[in-house]
Amino acid sequence: MTSVSMTVNGKSVNADVEPNTLLVQFIRENLRLTGTHVGCDTSQCGACTVHVNGDSVKSCTMLAVQADGSDVTTIEGLASGDDLHPMQTAFRENHGLQCGFCTPGMIMSAVDLVKRNPNPTEETIRKELEGNICRCTGYHNIVKSVKDASEKMGG
C-alpha cells in the first residue's frame, strides 16, 4: 500500500492504495464518483477522461499514485453548485448525448479542447475529439455542442 493525497473536485482526499490502482479505479471505487466511466482497455475510448492539474487525461492510463499531490476534476466537479458548466448546458441544448455513457469523458475533453482552442472551427473540434469515442450520436450534435459552448465560454 502507498498513501496518496490529492484534491478532487476541490476537496482534499487521502487514502492508502495498492500501487497498481488506476486513477479511474481510485475515483470510482474509493471516492464513489461513478460519473467517470470505463469503456475500453486500450486507452482509446476516452470515457474515463478527467482533468489533472487542468489538463485532460485518460484516468484509465494513469496510476492513482502518479496523481499524488495533484488537483483532479471529474465530471461531478464541473458545475458550480446548481449552475452547470456551459459545456454541460450546451450538450443538453444541442442533443449532444444519447445513451450518456461517453458523455462525461466527452464533456471533460471538450472543456480542455476549448481551453486550448478558444474559437475552434468544426474541423478543429472533430480533430481534437480524436481521443473520445461515441457510438450513438454520429458526433454531429457533439460538434455542435462544443461549438455552441465555445462561443458562450469565450463571450
Partner: protein
C-alpha cells in the same frame, strides 16, 4: 494488472539507483500502462520519473533544441521555441495519439519503447538528433536498434534529446485508421550535411530511405522521391495494410513531406 512496487524519486541518480533487473522506469505510461493492464507484462517495481524536474523542459541554444526526456508531446506541440525553430517537430508531436495521450506521453518514454509505429523515432533519425542518457550520448542512427529494441542498457536513463535545427523539415503521417498510430510516417529534413528521410510504421523499426536521400540531395522536391519505390520485402504486413501498400505509401508520404517542408 499484476501487483508491483512503486517508487517516485526526485533526482536522476536516485532513479538510476532505484531500478533493478526486473524493474522498469515509468515515464508517461501511455504505452506501458495499457500493456500492464492487459497483463501482457509483469514488473517488480515501477520507478516513476514524474517527480524529477530536471527531466522536463525545452531550451534552445547554439542552433540546437534540447528537450527533456519527461517533456510531454503536448508541451512540444505547443512550444513556441519548437514551433519557431523546428516547426516540423511540433507538428509531428501534435499528431501523436490524441489530446489526452499528448498530455501524459513523453519523448523519453516514446523513444525508449521504440514501438515500430511510434512517430518520434522518425523525427530523431531524420533530424540527426542525439539521445543523452545518464551515462552517455547516442546518435539517433545508433539508438534505434530493432523492434522494441534500443541501444539503452539496463538501468540506463534517457535525460534529454537534442535536435540540431535543420534548414527545413516536415513530417507526413498516414495513420492506422483504428489505433491512429503511424501505418506509415515519413519525416524528411534538409540539413547542412544533406537530406535525411526516416520512415516509421512501415518496418520493424524506424529506418532511413537512402535512395530518397540521394535523390533529394540534388533536388529537394516531392517529384524527386515520388517515383522511388521502397523494397517491400522487409516491411510490415497486417490486416491494415500489405507490405506493398506500405511501400507505396512511403513514396506518397515522402513526397508530401518534402513539398510541405519549411
Amino acid at each position: 494488472m499484476y501487483s508491483f512496487n512503486y517508487e517516485r524519486p526526485s533526482g536522476i541518480n536516485d532513479a538510476a539507483g532505484a531500478v533493478g533487473e526486473d524493474d522498469k522506469f515509468l515515464a508517461g505510461g501511455q504505452s506501458y500502462l495499457p500493456t500492464l493492464k492487459l497483463r501482457l507484462a509483469q514488473v517488480d517495481k515501477l520507478v516513476d520519473l514524474g517527480g524529477i524536474s530536471d527531466l522536463k523542459g525545452i531550451s534552445v541554444s547554439g542552433g540546437e533544441i534540447s528537450i527533456g526526456a519527461m517533456t510531454t508531446h503536448g508541451t512540444v506541440a505547443t512550444s513556441s521555441d519548437v514551433r519557431s525553430s523546428i516547426p516540423a517537430l511540433a507538428d509531428m508531436a501534435a499528431h501523436i495519439g490524441d489530446a489526452q495521450v499528448r498530455n501524459r506521453g513523453t519523448i523519453g518514454g516514446s523513444i525508449a519503447n521504440n514501438d515500430p509505429a511510434a512517430d518520434y523515432p522518425s523525427a530523431l533519425v531524420a533530424l540527426n538528433a542525439t539521445v543523452h542518457t545518464n551515462k552517455r550520448s547516442i546518435t539517433a542512427d545508433d539508438f534505434f536498434v530493432d523492434l522494441f529494441e534500443t541501444a539503452l542498457e539496463d538501468g540506463e536513463l534517457i535525460t534529454k534529446v537534442t535536435f540540431p535545427v535543420p534548414q527545413k523539415a516536415a513530417y507526413a503521417k498516414f495513420p492506422n485508421p483504428a489505433s491512429r498510430f503511424a501505418l506509415v510516417g515519413v519525416f524528411v529534413a534538409q540539413t547542412t550535411s544533406g537530406a535525411r528521410v526516416a520512415v516509421t510504421g512501415a518496418g520493424p523499426c524506424v529506418f532511413r530511405q537512402s535512395d530518397m536521400e540521394a535523390a533529394l540531395s540534388g533536388n529537394f522536391s516531392g517529384a524527386a522521391v515520388k517515383g522511388i519505390q521502397t523494397v517491400a520485402d522487409k516491411l510490415n504486413a497486417d490486416i491494415h495494410a500489405s507490405a506493398d501498400y506500405r511501400a507505396h505509401l512511403i513514396s506518397v508520404m515522402a513526397a508530401r513531406a518534402v513539398d510541405a517542408a519549411s
